[in-house]
């Protein structure tokens, strides 16, 4: 039996279950405790778990994230919120050196079982500095894992896997998904965990593969409806869910079936997850491609504030449909 939860509630339920399962799990971040979280993901957890498990920090991202990394070396399992993932910029050294490299530099003596989470997306009118989309950036550092859920069930299953993982996992949410709803299995039916590294084919089709992650998956599904209804084009919609580890088999399998791919990615055009997936496809399914791989990315400029055009800077169903029509 499953219930309908919001994306926000699903993450919270995952956090709550892991807090109950393992006394070493600690939630830290700015305003996560007494304020209940800037985006209310942690609402009620401080009231339930108290000061020791749910910890408000000063606005010192390098300081508190580094602290969490250090504590994790001693066996604490911090789940740290960046109020926006964009604030990674002031803690970058801790995130890409101390979290990602200490295991390697110590010849495997240390591991850093932290989870970093928070909203990472464009589309909520907060401008250039608050709208970075860093999944490809962090996935490019060996030693790190990155995942980006699109639905409440995936969010819950993946955050639980992230917390149990013994490597640093960077978990990216989308503010615009927090209020969306979906079915999530009932905890009474058992522990619901989705392993990292497994993509999910969210729609089956035969003519083209739409490959996406995060909120772009919803756009891809909407575009697939339109393409089917108005153009008779049948789309596979593959939700990567996890960026690193990456479900390369699922990507290749889909493209080998459809022979065409459009990749949808909220990153800017230089790089992004989509550039990597594009390279992987052409490397591994070269003979199966009937057309160049195309991408729908965020228009290549810093994020604009204006609510009047912001949606047009981002991938959206209309832009996906247009792009598909250029190659299908």
């Amino acid at each position: 039996m499953s219930r309908t939860l919001t994306f926000r509630e699903a993450i919270r339920e995952g956090l709550d279950e892991e807090l109950a399962r393992d006394p070493n799990v600690v939630i830290m971040g700015e305003e996560v405790a007494q304020y209940n979280g800037a985006y209310k993901v942690t609402e009620g957890l401080w009231a339930k778990w108290g000061d020791k498990r749910i910890v408000d920090t000063p606005i010192s991202e390098a300081g508190f994230i580094g602290m969490g990394i250090g504590a994790s070396m001693l066996g604490v399992r911090p789940v740290m919120e960046l109020m926006f993932w964009s604030f990674h910029s002031v803690a970058f050294d801790q995130l890409v050196n101390n979290a990602a490299c200490v295991r390697y530099m110590s010849g495997g003596l240390i591991n850093v079982p932290i989870v970093m989470r928070g909203p990472a997306n464009g589309g909520n009118n907060v401008g250039a500095t608050h709208c970075h989309v860093p999944e490809a950036l962090f996935a490019s550092f060996p030693g790190l894992k990155v995942c980006v859920p699109a639905t409440p069930a995936d969010a819950k299953g993946l955050i639980k896997a992230a917390i149990r993982d013994n490597d640093p996992v960077y978990f990216m949410e989308n503010v615009l998904l927090y209020g969306t709803t979906g079915e999530v299995p009932d905890p009474a039916e058992g522990d619901f965990v989705i392993p990292l590294g497994l993509a999910d084919l969210k729609r089956q089709g035969s003519d083209i593969s739409l490959i996406a992650h995060g909120r772009s998956v919803l756009h891809a599904l909407a575009a697939a409806e339109t393409l089917q209804a108005e153009h008779g084009i049948s789309c596979d919609v593959l939700d990567l869910r996890s960026i690193r580890p990456l479900d390369q088999d699922a990507i290749i399998k889909s493209v080998m079936k459809t022979n065409r791919a459009v990749l949808i990615d909220e990153s800017k055009g230089f790089g992004g997850v989509s550039a990597m997936v594009s390279h992987i496809i052409q490397e591994n399914a070269f003979d199966y491609l009937d057309a160049p791989i195309k991408r729908v990315t965020t228009i290549d400029a810093p994020a604009i504030y204006s609510p009047h055009v912001e949606n047009e800077q981002l991938p959206n169903p209309r832009r996906i449909v247009e792009k598909v029509l250029t190659i299908a």
Binding site: E30, E31, Q34, Y35, N36, A38, D56, P58, I59, S60, A62, G63, F87, S89, V90, N124, N125, V126, G127, A128, T129, H130, K268, G269, F270, K294, R295, V296, T297, I299, D300, A301, P302, I304, Y305, S306, P307, H308, V309, E310, E312, Q313, K323
Partner: protein, 358 residues
């Protein structure tokens, strides 16, 4: 916020205040009122869904921006964080361009690209408007560096919040400011809270936040923000130290915000008591207190004060109309203002691919 009960000195007589003409004093009042009326209008239309994102209101803190920026001459520059509307209006930006920016219109000061947190007017020595907490503090240092490099007698005023003092970049800036003897005045606008976190829960300190300056062998002072005369008197000393001696100062101005951290802050009345807010409004409001003061000094009457207030409200209303009627940016506008060279279509812009859209 901390000094509300400290013994109160009268700063009206300090030279920098005494030297003002009656008009100049009334203008201080006018500026504070304009800021408040502008933001009240913004609040109304934010709640009506006309803007997106965040709206960080300055209401309650007006004496800080108006008092300090009233001291600026042609070579003084300033920069602040995201709570930036007051600084914008005080340096002389007009309500139309500011309101239009909030509405995301192309007539906005940043063409609708920056939004509430990102107002700029380099022609008025105002360098923004910055969203990353304390990210502007090294930039403020750079303004001071530029002034000294060019041999200009001026200073940089760099504002930050009480929560921002715990960012590493700010501390790096303090050390460099003192070490290089740069003409920068850092102004902590201490409104007692960083979002829902009281100053005590975010900072460890001895007497006050500004005292941290001692560790860098830097001068510091604490100012009661409810008295604009005190703001001016003490800030003037710091600015002169910067201009004349190239020595930085760290100031802490105790103040208060009446609204939430941003308008979206649903908890605004949970982390502080209604009594606390009411007390500030009743007993410490910088506009109310200065209005009384100027009436006592015989420079304002109830009627003339009300007229100023009315004019400001009208100006704000007109700016809303301007903003509403202005055009939005186009999709093509998204791609401009990224590179100076491509915007100016220089020879450099002709070579190589600058933008990456499939």
């Amino acid at each position: 916020m901390t000094s509300a009960s400290a013994p109160h000195l009268d700063f009206a007589g300090s030279p920098i205040n005494q030297s003002m003409t009656p008009d100049q004093k009334v203008e201080l009042f006018n500026q504070m009122v304009r800021v408040r009326r502008f933001e009240q209008a913004a609040l109304k239309y934010y709640n009506a869904g006309k803007m997106g994102g965040f709206l960080h209101l300055y209401i309650g803190q007006e004496s800080v921006a108006v008092g300090t920026l009233s001291l600026c001459g042609p070579n003084d520059h300033n920069i602040t964080a995201y709570r930036c509307h007051a600084h914008a209006l005080t340096v002389g930006m007009n309500m139309n361009e500011c309101m239009a920016e909030l509405f995301g219109k192309s007539t906005g000061c940043s063409k609708g690209k920056g939004g509430s947190m990102h107002f700029f007017a380099p022609d008025k020595n105002y360098w923004g408007g910055h969203g990353i907490v304390a990210g502007q503090t090294p930039l403020g240092l750079g303004l001071a560096y530029g002034l000294k490099y060019k041999g200009l007698e001026g200073c940089s005023l760099c504002y930050l919040g009480d929560g921002a003092v715990n960012q590493g970049a700010f501390h790096e800036s303090l050390n460099i400011a003192a070490l290089f003897e740069l003409p920068v005045v850092y102004i902590i606008e201490n409104n007692g809270y960083s979002m829902g976190t009281s100053q005590k829960r975010s900072s460890s300190f001895r007497g006050c936040l500004a005292q941290r300056a001692e560790g860098y062998d830097m001068e510091w002072d604490v100012i009661n923000g409810s008295d604009i005369y005190e703001v001016r008197a003490k800030t003037h000393i710091a600015m002169e130290r910067a201009r004349k001696e190239h020595k930085p100062t760290l100031l802490e101005i105790d103040t208060y915000r009446y609204y939430g951290h941003s308008v979206a802050d649903a908890n605004a009345k949970k982390y502080r008591t209604p009594e606390e807010i009411e007390n500030y409004k009743q007993n410490h409001d910088p506009i109310t207190l200065f209005r009384k003061r100027l009436i006592n000094e015989g420079l304002l009457t109830e009627e003339s004060a009300d007229a100023i207030s009315k004019a400001a409200a009208d100006e704000a209303a007109a700016s809303v109309k301007f903003a509403e009627e202005s055009p939005a940016p186009t999709i093509a506008d998204i791609s401009t203002d990224v590179y100076w060279e491509t915007d100016h279509n220089t020879p450099a812009a002709q070579i190589g691919r600058h933008f990456f859209n499939d």
